[in-house]
Amino acid sequence: MNTEWFIVLSALLFATGAMGVLIRRSPMVILLCLELMLNAGNLALVAFSRMVGNGQGQVFAVIVMVIAACEVVVGLGLIVAIFRRRLPLNVDDLRELRG
């Protein structure tokens, strides 16, 4: 398969993830959509790594996975903290920090 197929698929998945962030209200599903976007980036990195014939892009993808794991851990910690304080799990209701 040519590289461009993978890149177009990655763009499609990224756009889907961005759409999900805009549509959904639950912070948990928004975290899942962030995962979609990070994975689309990973797919592009691995596809370019194959295109160049160099393994370094795959190392980038592995590091992105680490970052995604950190993001999930902190995000889920925040969700548990929100739930413990009996606050609504809805990003539109949780906008006290907005300027």
Binding site: M1, N2, T3, E4, W5, F6, I7, V8, L9, A11, L13, F14, A15, T16, G17, A18, M19, G20, L22, I23, R24, S26, M28, V29, L32, C33, E35, L36, N39, N42, V46, A47, S49, R50, M51, V52, G53, G55, Q56, Q58, V59, A61, V62, I63, M65, V66, A68, A69, C70, V73, V74, L76, G77, I79, V80, A81, R84, L89, N90, D92
Partner: protein
């Protein structure tokens, strides 16, 4: 054969992604994301990157998704309110998503990367296997590797601080 595998995996990945944003129950969203992750790891195998594919299944579909399932079970599903701060957001968002897709595709495909239309050069047999990635991680990318391990430690400590009960008592 390769085309069949690619389009099957691409359909799985896209269907999983759409399932994540379409499901009302967050638990089903997590399950759809697992389908998405398995399809992506098949795509990684097509790109001859065995280690990333294995890490995707073990780390993401194994560990991270279990964490999600636990939190969804703890917090509970719960429906979303229909109230919209921006009127028509649910209809504008897909338009913006399509615009983003077109823009990204045009940006990449109209770039002057000549190798885009090729499969890439022939790679040796060990390309992307754990040994090759391990050599790269521990030789050329040692400092990013160590930095990411510190980041993981900080994230673990941060999650414990965020989710612990102690602060509520004070």
């Amino acid at each position: 054969m390769e085309e069949v595998l690619f389009f099957t995996a691409a359909l799985g990945a896209l269907g999983g992604a759409l399932g994540v944003i379409a499901m009302r129950n967050p638990f089903y969203s997590v399950l759809a994301l697992i389908v998405h992750l398995f399809s992506l790891s098949a795509l990684f195998l097509l790109l001859t990157s065995a280690f990333v594919a294995a890490a995707q299944v073990v780390v993401y579909a194994g560990a991270v998704m279990v964490l999600y399932v636990f939190v969804v079970a703890y917090v509970g599903g719960g429906g979303e309110s229909a109230w919209e701060p921006i009127p028509g957001q649910r209809f504008l968002a897909p338009l913006l998503g399509i615009a983003l897709f077109v823009e990204l595709s045009v940006a990449v495909l109209s770039s002057s990367l000549l190798a885009l239309g090729t499969e890439g050069p022939d790679v040796p047999a060990g390309f992307g296997d754990p040994a090759a990635i391990g050599h790269l991680l521990l030789e050329k990318f040692l400092i990013p590797f160590e930095a990411s391990s510190i980041l993981l430690l900080l994230a673990a400590v941060g999650a414990i601080v965020l989710a612990s009960n102690r602060r509520e008592a004070s």
